[in-house]
């Protein structure tokens, strides 16, 4: 299950945190390890990507808050 979630999260991160590269996979892992609390986050992330892929959502940064 965890690996599936990991695969679904097609996330990559830029080096936006000071001098230390946090590592893309490592940041993703934090979502996975978040357990039950993270499932909601994972689903929302995946949902957003899916919408973009089908042209139903904006590609660039969205200003709306999560619900």
């Amino acid at each position: 299950m965890k690996l599936t979630v990991g695969v679904l999260l097609l996330l990559v991160f830029s080096n936006a945190w000071a001098y230390l590269d946090p590592g893309t996979g490592s940041m993703m892992l934090q979502v996975i390890l978040g357990g039950v609390a993270a499932v909601g986050v994972a689903v929302k992330l995946y949902w957003h990507k899916l919408r973009v892929a089908f042209g139903l959502g904006k590609k660039e940064e969205s200003e709306e808050d999560s619900d």
Binding site: V12, P22, G23, Q30, I32
Partner: protein, 489 residues
């Protein structure tokens, strides 16, 4: 708030080029562009950029931070006013403000620590992350080089690591925590594999892929391995090379601090439960008691006591300290003792023993292969002599190991001791002694230089031998030596 008045608030930040660096700059402090540490006459000062200064001012107004400082978990720090700043004009011009930190008596590094020392540092690191994140801050990195030992307790020294938490972002220090703290601890606990050589050879610790190759199929079900080692390595392979920016995606998906805290708490539990059942140490159980009569033992203790007192040393090194029995004597008579031994188990026991005095810093160290000057420009991490200046060195029941086991010529060993200090107690162990017989048992005896006469002759090249004492019917001899010119402390 004690604000430092800036001389020129609108000045442009310029940095001096490398070849005109102040000679007072700490050569290990450069990776974070927002600050730099300077040492001036024993004081520890830190220049901060405008943003780092702003972060600090926010941080020090927070209760959680103040509590951490009060409890001694974070180093005592204050902002330095311009007029109090002793550094040169050109250095001051490079930074928006300065902090002053309480100095650490002796700086030490993770590859000199024992398992429990690294574990204590790891627990401290996680505690700080938990406290920070619960209060709107974060600790942006996780390296044991930000932790020092004072009175045998870990203290966090890198104040600019605290930054305001931006909602929606994961903990940036997690991977580094794994590579610099967790994996070394797992190696020691799960595989009884000494972590120090890894930490000494690799400035960034045990990499995720190295860890994955070391923890094989059988280890995958041990606590912490599947997630932090195996899964992290897999995800790193798959996603390490991309460059897409998804900070916004995470944020709009609702990533929040709770997720970080869940992970941090799991890590805390994992670290807390890690144990190292030290096995089969050749010297771990060894006590000098075996080789001395009670009377001789008392005479040796008295000799040491007198040596420390008359040396007036405030810092004493006990090299080859083993159980630390003589370190303890020195500790009651001086300010700070550095106790080192090649045996990880012995040093671990010394560290864990509740009766060990607080002013003893125990470190793992091989005299024949000591901590080097290495890292960037071979001065990022330094040797022990650069970090501590002993007024007296105790070299008890060690010379036979150095000359016979480690094959160091006796004359060179004495030269090295003379380079450390102006005052020395050295114990010669004769060939009649059981221990020496053991060391020679499987070797051809080529050690012509190993003799009491030769030791005395070499000591006299550097020192005056002012006291001598024979123990064990002459099998062991103690020498107290002082340099003719005043040296050391």
């Amino acid at each position: 708030m004690g604000l430092a008045r800036k001389k020129n608030p609108k000045k442009i930040q310029t940095k001096a080029p490398m070849n005109t660096l102040s000679s007072e700059v700490d050569t290990g402090s450069f990776r974070d562009r927002d600050g730099r540490v300077y040492r001036h006459q024993g004081r520890v000062l830190r220049g901060l950029s405008a943003s780092a200064l702003e972060n600090y001012r926010q941080l020090q107004s927070k209760k959680f931070y103040q509590k951490l400082v009060e409890s001694g978990k974070v180093v005592a720090t204050r902002e330095l006013l311009d007029e109090e700043n002793p550094l040169s004009e050109s250095v001051q011009a490079q930074w928006s403000g300065f902090l002053e930190h309480e100095p650490v008596p002796i700086i030490s590094y993770a590859y000199e620590w024992t398992f429990s020392m690294l574990k204590a540092a790891a627990s401290l690191q996680l505690h700080l992350v938990e406290r920070a994140i619960s209060n709107g801050f974060t600790v942006k990195d996780a390296t044991p080089y930000n932790v020092q030992f004072v009175n045998r307790r870990p203290v966090f020294i890198d104040i600019p690591s605290f930054e305001p938490l931006r909602e929606g972002e994961p903990w940036s220090g997690y991977r580094q925590f794994c590579e610099m703290f967790l994996f070394p601890l797992l190696l020691q606990s799960y595989k009884n594999c000494d972590f120090q050589p890894f930490m000494r050879a690799s400035i960034d610790g045990v990499g995720v892929h190295t860890a994955a190759s070391l923890f094989g199929f059988r280890d995958r079900f041990r606590k912490g391995v599947a997630s932090h080692v195996w899964l992290q390595a897999k995800l790193d392979r798959r996603y390490g090379g991309s460059s897409e920016n998804v900070r916004s995606s995470l944020k709009s998906a609702g990533f929040n601090r709770e997720l970080i805290l869940v992970n941090v708490r799991k890590l805390q539990k994992l670290v807390r439960k890690l144990e190292w059942r030290a096995t089969g140490s050749e010297w771990g159980d060894y006590s000098e008691f075996h080789n001395y009569s009670d009377e001789d033992h008392v005479r040796k203790e008295d000799f040491i006591r007198e040596a420390v007192t008359s040396s007036k040393a405030s810092v004493v090194w006990d090299i080859g300290c083993n159980t630390g029995q003589f370190s303890r004597i020195a500790a009651s008579l001086c300010k700070q003792v550095l106790s080192t031994d090649i045996d990880h188990v012995a040093v671990e026991r010394l560290f864990l023993n509740k009766e060990t005095p607080d002013n003893i810093l125990p470190l793992v160290q091989n005299v024949a292969d000591p901590s080097p000057n290495w890292g960037w420009r071979n001065s990022e991490r330094t040797d022990l002599q650069s970090r501590s200046d002993p007024g007296l060195v105790l070299c008890l029941a060690l010379i036979h190991h150095v000359v016979i086991t480690a094959n160091i010529p006796l004359a060179e060993f004495v030269d090295w001791l003379a380079s450390l200090t102006g005052k020395l107690v050295i114990e010669y162990v004769s060939r009649r002694d059981d221990k020496v017989k053991t060391l020679l048992r499987n070797k051809e005896d080529k050690y012509q230089d190993y003799s009491s006469e030769n030791l005395e002759a070499n000591l006299k090249r550097h020192f005056e031998v002012t006291r001598q004492e024979h123990l064990n019917n002459g099998d062991r001899t103690l020498f107290y030596c002082e340099k003719s010119q005043v040296g050391g402390d």
